[in-house]
């Protein structure tokens, strides 16, 4: 922390004081309460599974046999990325149907998630494109960016993105704060904006397409890293002139490994098949059953 000294005494002060305070309370919990709790690793879960310190990990796999969860997740990330290498074009052009088919098969094999490029004769203008970081969206009347943070770490990670001045394509996510639920919260947290208006047939059947796209789940994959997130469509955009093809919430960008630097990158995006529609929004967690087959 030497680099902060003198330049930012307020940070240095809080860093020292809050580190000492945190260490004191952790030691207190250990000494006073858990010294005699004979649970070994379970005690560790309470003490070291601290919110904010470890909740932004890449894809995790549970019950991974001889490998640790992290090793297993990383190996699956790496496997998907490695298998995609020779199937991706060097530029972000539209993929052919044959290319989509191969990639969809790989995703099913490696992540266990069935996806489609077309459902009910409706498809987006592309399945591979440049994603850019978006701001948070207002979820209900009176919402504010600070309300989006689950805790302080959440604010530090995502608060800086700010909140868009206008509403998302479907308006508020909930009619009031009272009607706001954990499910609605997840919709905004893991939203994407896609170019619905460029879908073949959109202009002829706007209402039908709007209903089709509203909060529809999609799987977004960073082909370079294999990181994947289940997101829902909550906005329309970006405009064609931007050169980008879709947008991701701050949390989506984080889970794709694209939250830093230029906050954009090439991604694959497919509709979740009906058989996968119950997969929760958020980073892909390979379930126990699948992990056992791996």
């Amino acid at each position: 922390m030497k680099q902060f000294k003198k330049k930012k005494p307020h940070f240095e002060f809080l860093h020292k004081k809050w580190t000492a305070r945190r260490n004191g309370v952790v030691e207190g919990v250990l000494d006073k309460h858990l010294r005699h709790v004979a649970l070994g690793g379970l005690g560790g879960l309470v003490l070291f599974g601290t919110p904010g310190l470890n909740h932004h990990q890449p894809i995790q796999i549970t019950n991974a046999g001889n490998q640790t969860n992290i090793e297993m997740a990383m190996s699956k990330n790496a496997l998907l990325a490695a298998e995609l290498v020779d199937k991706m074009p060097t530029d972000t052009r539209k993929l052919t149907e044959a290319e989509d088919t191969k990639i969809i098969q790989l995703i099913a094999k490696d992540l266990g998630i069935k996806v489609k490029s077309e459902i009910d004769n409706k498809r987006l203008n592309r399945t591979f494109g440049l994603i850019g970081g978006e701001q948070h969206l207002y979820r209900y009347p009176g919402d504010a960016v600070f309300e989006h943070a689950k805790d302080a770490s959440d604010w530090a990670m995502y608060g800086g993105a700010g909140i868009a001045p206008g509403l998302g394509a479907w308006g508020y996510f909930a009619s009031s704060k009272g009607a706001f639920t954990p499910e609605v919260e997840q919709r905004e947290r893991y939203y994407i904006a896609v170019q619905t208006f460029l879908s073949p047939g959109f202009s002829e059947r706007v209402a039908e397409y709007r209903d089709f796209y509203k909060y529809r789940k999609m799987l977004v994959v960073n082909p370079k890293t294999g990181q994947a997130v289940v997101a829902d469509i909550a906005d329309a955009g970006p405009s064609e002139y931007t050169g980008k093809h879709l947008g991701g919430s701050p949390e989506v960008m984080q889970e794709l490994g694209l939250a830093t630097g230029p906050r954009k990158g090439a991604v694959l995006y497919y509709f979740l098949d009906d058989s996968s529609k119950d997969i929760p929004l958020g980073p892909v967690h390979i379930n126990e059953e699948l992990a056992q087959k791996i």
């Binding site: 930012k8 006073k32 309470v46 302080a152």
Partner: protein, 110 residues
Amino acid sequence: MIKFYSHIVTVQSLIIELDQMDLSDKEKLHLANLLDSTFHHTILDAILRELNEEDKTIFVKLHAENDSKKFWEFLNKKVDNIEDKIKSAAAQLTKELHKDIKEAKGLKKV
């Protein structure tokens, strides 16, 4: 891991204060992690001090199971007004942290 107290504890007032300070993204995250960790362990302390040794073991097991309903049923059964006790511990900590922030804001660059 469940954040079992998120419905009764908020750090929003502290976040608003930190947001007004001249901090880089890394500095923000560092302080935010310390803040969350301190809240977490302060709340654990507030709960564990109310439990006997046997119940502490059960508490740790239930916490690891991530079953929020079962977890709160246990706490409500074992401790009178547990939510009030958690809120009180969090409020006291919030007050102290606000005092720290106020003091930090008063420091001048060297």
